[in-house]
Symmetry: C2
Subunit: 357 residues, 2 copies
Amino acid sequence: MSTIKPPAPRDDHTDATVRAKRTRGGPKGLRITDVAAQAGVSPITVSRVFNNPESVAPETLERVRQVVQKLGYVPNRLAGGLSSARSRLIAAIVPTISHSLFSETVQVFSETMSRAGYEVLLALSGYSASNEESLLDTVLSRRPEGVLLTGVAHTDSLRERLRNVGIPVVETWDMTDAPIDMLVGFSHYEIGAAVATHLLERGARRPALVSANDARARARRAGFRERLAQAGIEDVPEALVAPPSSVAVGKRALPELLARAQDIDAVFCGSDLLAIGALGAARAMGLQVPSQLAICGFGDLEFATETTPQLTTVRVDGTRIGVNAARFLLDRLSGEHGADEHRFLDVGFSVVPREST
Amino acid sequence: MSTIKPPAPRDDHTDATVRAKRTRGGPKGLRITDVAAQAGVSPITVSRVFNNPESVAPETLERVRQVVQKLGYVPNRLAGGLSSARSRLIAAIVPTISHSLFSETVQVFSETMSRAGYEVLLALSGYSASNEESLLDTVLSRRPEGVLLTGVAHTDSLRERLRNVGIPVVETWDMTDAPIDMLVGFSHYEIGAAVATHLLERGARRPALVSANDARARARRAGFRERLAQAGIEDVPEALVAPPSSVAVGKRALPELLARAQDIDAVFCGSDLLAIGALGAARAMGLQVPSQLAICGFGDLEFATETTPQLTTVRVDGTRIGVNAARFLLDRLSGEHGADEHRFLDVGFSVVPREST
DNA sequence: CTGAAAGCGCTTACAG
DNA sequence: CTGAAAGCGCTTACAG
């Protein structure tokens, strides 16, 4: 009997020895080699069962799948992603999902991506462009294959970075001539103008504004003011409010405005929640809505139509944005559309006047 | 001159050669070795700059950071996670985030996790336990360090799997004696009972129910019916509705109920949206709310308080759930609390009667 | 249809 | 405070 032991012929043993030597972490989970050994195939074949099952013989496929099932093996996508440079991850950076129109977009975006085999990494930026930029770095560390962004007001550095990494990007919920890559949105400027037109047509003489101060709110404000200016109205009382917009904030904003200009006869609010708050305040002050004071919101939240028929609102299709943003990304990822094809979709909006409800 | 070329002594060169040989994917992004070379340190030191900066000399730290900044290097967390067995990922599996109370929970959960250096993988299960189970596998393939689950009604196989992987788990938005690990929620059964009590106290003699058919809705239904049974009311007209619950669905449900039992004087609806729909239907039928028909919702959505003071509702603190779920997970991850400490928090609820608004 | 070898880009566990 | 060696668990790009 030789005293020099030859290396164990079985992989099992070798692996165990090597692992014991390193002692990284505790007992490790199942690896592809465990499944391969049990099924009597090579690890590559197991990999194929997950990633390219058509290329595996039916019997082999079945055998491997049974072992996978029996062992409860779940492939490690950190390893898979590293090796294949395909993370199967999509990042979505949105300001917020609570009390918000964006939640609809994220919902359908996530559903659509999930159906296509991608998972969604959610990052909440809270309306700050610099915050968004630092979140992007965090998110890029996962090597996502695509990114959904909210709005078009990003830092230059974010824009540049994203162009450099070369993954597909969709900007949403806004409009610009110079998107980073693709875009699904609508014009906030046009909304402001349309609301101004609507209010003027309804006889408003002294319109006011309750608005947040983010990029999109500013665009609506600009459209609103410029349209009013065309009609000779230059002085537009404004109440700027900090996010998150809420009923309570709207309730406080209206009296403020009226204190500054008591002849206000119309208010454009940055969201339906603000509009509902303004409506509450108007009622409390004995003002008739809309006869004495017209109020317009933004977002057309489902409940608002039902509960506050006095309010005009602006309807925007967050679901359509989410679905199409996903499609744009998926088409690019599947190679159906080239990287030079900067697709663009304006989903539009509609002003929903009080009478129509 | 020898014709046999020795291996290049510089790493730079070797790397390039090796990479060219493999040609996996196109031109690769920056790696930690690129930063290391430029900064004149080893890759391990660069790694430390990101993961353990205190252990690096101040000058070295500064130098490396400058190179990182200049190059725009973003570490690859697929590689980092694989190597360290720390993915810095937390999975959140929720039924939906649109029109929903869960969006609040996800929002604060995500914010809290993000502040602690974790990212959130969002998975939308849509109220199906089997769907939830298959989503879990997808999600586990990313090797998350913790999982947030909605509700306590999971498949046995999900429960077992999750116990096996041994990562911290928080179940939320419900209550049970046998959680998988930790829990932050409240009792839907108790809510049903409390609403029944409330309606009875207000003089209801013939209460009805509009409810979805998921596990939590069933628990509320059970509490509602059992409390009514104690008061001698065994026959409770019910309308079962499919998710997603909406104003429109509530609007249709009420007439259905009344067609079956025209003497109904109170309705407990599974959500505020349903309640608002029922309110609309009641108005359309000329019924006074609450004097002729009391309506109770669930969720206490912000707008509801303001716009529909006729409705009673049940207030539940989704934000508190999210914050505490995150804390539970983080405490466990930081090692402050052992894996045997199955923490538990009942955040309770409150019935908000119509008068209080 | 299947597999052996090499590599993806990091970090661990030492040692100094 | 810093680094050389080895390994994390997969997949690619062949070859057969």
